[in-house]
């Protein structure tokens, strides 16, 4: 009996040690990117979903500063629409937004395309092991890599080397007070760009995910919105995004195609030649979306609501951070 109790205590101690090690070896990128979302106790007005276009293009703090709208930027690099669907499904269990704005940049990419799988860890590592996480992993991750998502310690225990050597590099430039967005510091001319309003009327690899997302939103009482953030992309890519209008019309979903009324200057507002937006570009796109959202939906201005005082605290931190990291670029001008 004594031996049995000793064995049970030992196994329990092992489980505790493994749990501690799991926490110790995790990367903190996911926490910085999504931690504030999971800690937020107040309901969100808007959830932005999609690719790096959203990640760099929408600043929830500026939306709060200018319109008093609460939002979270769930955008993530190389995130196709099928993956965004699962982000929305899982995130809605935690904090169901009034409006879900979905970036359609990757309408022409399927989940089977080669993605930088490390970015999938950002979100999924933050989700505790659950039925919905397992479904998300099963739907969006190749089977040979399920283990590292269901049991992230199997991957991260190998970080001892970089941790001991002290050369841990960040994967994403998010801070908790930025509510999921990041600031890309830099200015480069975008690639040559020519606008087209033509549409690709064929079904795209991401089209079915759009249908599923809209259906899910309507089941949950969430207002779906499609969005395209301008970037100096090829006419073919533009045509693919323009084609989303057909789905939007069919489903009766608004589509904010900012290519039609481009607020971005590709010569000054891009961080890289691919057209990822720098803070100036993000400010313009955020202002555009803020204007559009407040015009089309009844969104209460909560800036003076005491329950949202922490949003004002975060705004202060954000303003300081933006000035410190981007102010010198503005002053140079």
């Amino acid at each position: 009996m004594k031996k049995a109790i000793g064995a049970i205590i030992w196994v329990a101690a092992l489980c505790v040690c493994l749990a501690l090690a799991d926490g110790f070896f995790r990367r903190d990128d996911g926490e910085r990117k999504y931690g504030s979302f999971f800690k937020e106790e107040q309901p969100l007005d808007v959830m932005f979903l999609g690719s790096s276009r959203v990640l760099d293009g929408i600043s929830p703090m500026e939306l709060w500063r200018d319109y008093g709208v609460t939002s979270y930027n769930m955008g993530n690099s190389s995130e196709c629409i099928d993956a965004s669907e699962w982000v929305l499904r899982i995130a809605s269990e935690q904090n169901k937004p009034k409006i879900a704005v979905l970036d359609v940049y990757y309408i022409d990419r399927s989940i089977e395309d080669r993605w930088h799988i490390s970015y999938r860890h950002l979100f999924l590592d933050e989700i505790p092991l659950s039925r919905i996480k397992f479904e998300a992993v099963r739907s969006t991750i190749p089977q040979d890599r399920w283990i590292e998502f269901l049991m992230p310690f199997s991957l991260y225990h190998g970080r001892w080397e970089e941790m001991l050597a002290g050369n841990v590099e960040r994967m994403i430039d998010c801070e908790p007070f930025m509510m999921g967005s990041e600031l890309r510091i830099g200015r480069r001319n975008g690639m040559p760009y020519e606008r087209t309003t033509e549409m690709n009327t064929q079904e795209q690899p991401g089209t079915q995910a759009l249908y599923r997302i809209v259906s899910f939103c309507r089941e949950q009482g969430i207002e779906p919105v499609f969005m395209a953030i301008p970037a100096p992309v090829s006419q073919k890519e533009q045509m693919n995004m323009n084609g989303v209008q057909l789905v939007a019309d069919e489903l009766g979903v608004p589509f904010v195609n900012m290519y039609d009324d481009n607020p971005v200057n590709f010569d000054t507002d891009c961080y890289d030649e691919l057209g990822h937006l720098n803070p100036d570009g993000a400010t313009k796109v955020t202002a555009y979306m803020g204007e559009w959202l407040t015009e089309h939906y009844e969104l209460e201005d909560k800036r003076s609501n005491a329950a949202y005082a922490h949003w004002n605290d975060n705004l202060e931190l954000y303003e300081e951070f933006r000035l410190a990291s981007w102010g010198h670029m503005t002053m140079l001008e």
């Binding site: 690099s77 225990h157 001991l164």
Partner: protein, 475 residues
Amino acid sequence: MLFNSFEFLIFFPVVTLLYFVLPHRVRWIWLLVTSYFFYMNWHAGYALLMLACTVVTFVCSRVISNTQDPRRRKGVLIAGLVANLGMLAYFKYTGMLLDIINRVCDFVGLNYQTPKVSILLPVGISFYIFQALSYMIDVYKGKVKPERNFFKYALFVSFFPQLVAGPIERSGRLLKQIAVPHDFDAKRVRDGLLIMMLGFFEKVVIADRACMYVDVIFRDWAYASGAQIALATLVFMVQDLCDFAGYSYIAIGSAKVLGIDLMTNFRQPYFAHSVQNFWARWHISLSTWFRDYIYFPMGAGRGSKLRRSFNIMTVYTISGLWHGAALKYVAWGMINGALQVVEMLLPVYKPKHPKLHHVLSVLWTNVLIGVTMLVFRAGSLYTAIQMLVKIPMEWGAEWMNSGFSPMQGLCLGVCTVILFAIEYIHEKRKSLTEMTDRLPGVIRMALYLAAVMAIVIFGVWGPGYSAQAFIYFQF
């Protein structure tokens, strides 16, 4: 299913738990079912080969034991040997044979190429066939009584802990243990788990990390310096030991948990004072198999020195072939044989300083074993010769970037020191378990916990973390 896989992490506790929950009379059936499951998890179809080997050796052994006619007994034995070795030869050596035919045709200018064949080598085939053959030969020699229950015999051939990489057990030991009921014994289970832990330490922490360095240097040896090749050979010596001995420890430990004692397979081989002594310590279950079933029947050490040399060379040439289907393995086996022949022919020398002589002998033996290990690991025999020449000729050349970080090197170095400390304790005939048993319970438990955590953290397992995959891709 590999021991260092997630599947085994689930498989083994489930098998063990149910094994001790089930009534005694069905436990061996449970082990048989799970052993076949273990094997079929890799390739279901190839379980039929194991079954065929089991049926043939079982039937032959029964016929041999029921027959008094020596000629008929011998005939059945030979038929059993041919069937099993034929199966082994087909799966393991067809490719090598065709390659030799093609080379010979090329050499003599014959415009002929054999058809290309691609045969998947069944995992563990060399092990379970040798184990089954040992039973059949032992029955023929009257050393063991034939097993009457086919399914118990099938468990002897397929017992999962030692199925894939040995130890190659003898029927005299294993079959007896299968027949006996085993009660749950907490101390034995703990001892088994500790042996498994040592195995995982050697396999996952040392061998799998060492191979990261060894693979690069042996692949790009042309760019490596002589010193680097020598270091890689040393690291390979450690890797090879830990890879094989580690796997054996896991097998022995997991069998012990189930109440079955398997034979010791490695006994501090790098403390050997001669090549012959090395082979008495390395892969003991195979060495003794060759000794009992080839060397002894050939006359062993009897007869003239020439005869004894021939016997040794034959055994080690076959041993080389057993290790791999390529000429370099044959050469490796022959070198090992030749070194032992030289040792046998050298006059016996009585040293003035026995301790110093012993230390020097151990060092010299390791140099010789290192050379054979280089031949074993190199891409081909020709490559091995080039690498050996390069060691002294380009000793001081610039070191190539192996991609092996200093931190990994430090980890490997520290773990190797720990390994040799453990080996030294074992060499001094001391038991690590008994030593830790003298510690207070809490400290002992904390020590076990720390060891498991160290294996989990520093071990090479899982999908493999690459910091490069987590840098800012910037899109």
